[in-house]
């Protein structure tokens, strides 16, 4: 069997980046939530906010730590597997990716330590400020990453000289056409992730009747938040889609499963796209709705996949179905937010077993939705690495052989399986430890504490020890 280094590199990148992405998408949202809790605590001096903030800061520490570990791998992927892409675009990509690292570096150096270990040791106002700065820092970090990605989708501000990209306008390149829709879509996704995890964990505690009053407060405030951001995400997602329609019409055609450019395009609820036959099997759709959504007119024209030659088409089935998974979960999130409002009456939301159970499961929904969304936008760009300028095939490392790529792909899967199984297990332990049993700092020299993210969590590894 011939091993294809290109395909294996794409699978490897998809694997490591998906694995990495779930951590920051959660910490970005959670950092803002912690900042809000700190602010409430500072303002009202109600100990409940302090308890909640302490608990969620421990969760934050573990997830942030795992994000850093998986991020180290990402810093090298561009060179090991995509060296030609890196070489050609380094003049833009290098500084932008470095700024992401620099922001994270600065954040860790200056404020993360105070947030994680400064509780009770620095004035409350400074502690609150650190939480705000960490939250801001996570957004700045993601801004740079999304700028780099958006530039690959909608390249601008550069010209080719001697075969290499040179930046002619930093502002055009950084603030390229798809940056802001992508940024706000991602920012809301992070808030949704943070909010659904907080809601799910709070529901889990309420179901078990542990510290009900504390977690009811957390659940109540996240349900209000969800009521705003879940529908807002639908609007921003629509804007993002229209932006894609303008700049990457073939991606939208694949999302809609629309093969021929035409008017009155139905919104397909189900279909099995056939790349070879250039059509769908078993279509079920709502007449003209895709035209209405995309062109705000039933007679609106929607681009077709056959607008471009066969070798310039993305894998339609992956884009089509990932898009449906994302949108479906998004609708489910809106539904839960609305039900949460309906159950406000007589505080039914803390009594309804099925609602609380449902929320517990919904903790996973935003993660799946985020990954599905990235699958849409990344595979939807295929076969291009830099849209309509550089293909995957031209960006891959020339010296890479199939078995080298296979070796590291299997290697990363094994390493991640062991390490992150351990991490996820430990995270569960931290969560189960709960708010009231949070570890006190018994160290004789409290200032002499490790400044590492994970050491902020105090839960023990083994279950037995906790109970004895």
């Amino acid at each position: 069997m011939e091993l294809d280094p290109l395909l294996l590199s794409r699978i490897q990148f998809a694997f490591v980046v998906s694995f990495h992405a779930i951590f920051p998408v959660f910490t970005i949202g959670l950092a803002s939530y912690i900042a809000v809790l700190q602010g409430l605590s500072f303002k009202t001096q109600n100990p409940v906010w302090e308890q909640l903030s302490k608990f969620w800061t421990q969760v934050f520490a573990v997830v942030f730590g795992m994000g850093v570990v998986s991020g180290i791998v990402m810093a090298f992927q561009f060179g090991t597997n995509w060296s030609e892409f890196s070489r050609l675009s380094a003049n833009f990509l290098g500084p932008v990716l470095s700024y992401e690292v620099v922001t994270a570096f600065f954040l860790e150096a200056a404020f993360l330590g105070i947030l994680l270990f400064g509780r009770g040791k620095v004035p409350q106002g400074i502690h609150f400020l650190s939480a705000v700065m960490v939250a801001t820092g996570t957004f700045i970090s993601s801004f740079w990453i999304l700028s780099a990605n958006s530039w690959m989708q909608t390249p601008a501000g550069v010209e080719l000289r001697d075969g290499l990209y040179h930046v002619v306008s930093w502002s055009d390149a950084i603030f390229n056409a798809s940056l802001w829709p992508r940024f706000f879509h991602m920012a809301l996704a992070s808030f949704l992730t943070g909010a659904f995890v907080v809601a799910g964990v709070s529901a889990w505690f309420i179901l078990r009747k542990r510290d009900v009053e504390v977690h009811r407060k957390a659940l109540s405030m996240t349900l209000w938040l969800l009521l705003v951001i879940a529908p807002a995400q639908v609007v921003v997602g629509d804007i993002h889609g229209l932006n894609t329609l303008e700049h990457q019409p073939i991606k939208v055609a694949a999302m809609e499963g629309n093969w021929e450019r035409k008017t009155n395009v139905p919104l397909l609820l189900f279909a099995i796209p056939d790349q070879e036959a250039e059509k769908n099997h078993f279509e079920i759709g709502i007449p003209s709705l895709a035209s209405i959504i995309l062109a705000h007119d039933p007679n609106g024209e929607v681009p077709g996949i056959t607008d471009v030659p066969k070798d310039e088409r993305p894998p339609v089935a992956i884009v089509f179905w990932s898009f449906r998974v994302m949108v479906g979960l998004g609708m489910l999130m809106v539904l839960f937010a609305v039900i949460g409002l309906a159950l406000r009456y007589k505080q039914k939301y803390v009594k309804s077993q099925w609602f609380l159970k449902g929320l517990t499961y919904m903790s996973f929904a935003p993660f799946i939705a985020v990954l599905a969304g990235w699958f849409v936008t990344e595979t939807g760009r295929a076969p291009w690495l830099i849209y309509q300028q550089l293909s995957h095939a031209d960006g891959v490392t020339p010296s890479l052989t199939g078995w080298m790529a296979l070796f590291t792909l299997i290697g990363y899967i094994l390493v991640y399986a062991i390490v992150f199984a351990a991490g996820a297990y430990y995270l569960m332990r931290v969560i189960q430890t709960g708010v009231t049993q949070g570890p006190e700092d018994e160290s004789e020299h409290p200032e002499q504490r490790a400044k590492r993210p994970l050491s902020a969590a105090g839960a023990s590894w083994e279950l037995e020890e906790q109970q004895s």
Partner: protein, 335 residues
Amino acid sequence: MSEPVFDLTFIWAAIIAFGVIMYVLMDGFDLGQGILFPFAPSEESRDVMMNSVAPVWDGNETWLILGGAGLLAAFPLVYTIFLPALYIGVFLMLAGLIFRGVAFEFRFKAKTSKYLWNWAFAGGSIVASFAQGAVVGAYIQGFEVVNDVYVGGAFDWLTPFTVLTGLGMVAGYGLLGSTWLILKSEGETQEFAYRVTKRLLLAVLVVFVAISLYTPFVDEFVSNRWFSGISVIWLLPVLALLCAWRIYSAVQQKRDGTPFVATMGLFIFTYFGLLASKFPYVVPPSITLWDAASAHESQLFLLLGLLFVIPIVLVYTAWTYWVFRGKVKAGHGYH
């Protein structure tokens, strides 16, 4: 070369060179704890060893990430030739660093599964150190490059020479680790550290001499640099050997801090010697730092941010080391 020597590219080379030696010295002594881990006299000693670096190791490793990203921004050809050429080695290094990093956190929180994390910590540290040493060897060896693209094979980096430099790096990090431990510990742990320091010093010197004798013979450029070039660079190996002697005498006198300081000196002078051998080539045998540089405006754009951040990071780093100064007592963890 018609380019002026003191330009933006040169500033960037100085920044990257500074970052590399910062990383080597700082992550070196904490990787060293992992290298010494299997030989530690007791489990309490292992606790002390880990505790002596626990507060600082992840800060040390962030220099590696900054180095990776900084290379892509300032010297893309180094990034896009080294990483493909060292593909398998880079993976092994990352896997090693991940395992030891996670072991750091979870060993403290485990009891029955502790021995597993001990192995992860030692194995990860040794593999990562060896891979880094092999990178140094591969750099001395040079890379097969056509039109700015690496065209060699998957294992060009793995030769008897790079195995030697890999083992040398394991010994060298071990030495940094053992002298750091002398500074930070007492009792049986310190006795152990004094003991292994002598052996590790011998191993490092053997590799040091072997490389110094071997390199000028296989590399005409290096031999010209040393034997017909500027004679002032001979000061570097002399200073390195003086440091080695100082390590030995300080261990004999049972001094606390001097062995570690002298080991850092040994590393720094050897490092400068290495840079002096190859300058201005960053991807030997053909690519100079000016060939490998990114566009002027790209280097400038990032420099503005770095000039702001690096001083803050340095101050914070210094402060952390100050807070955690002094001996680590058994049973007093930072975890």
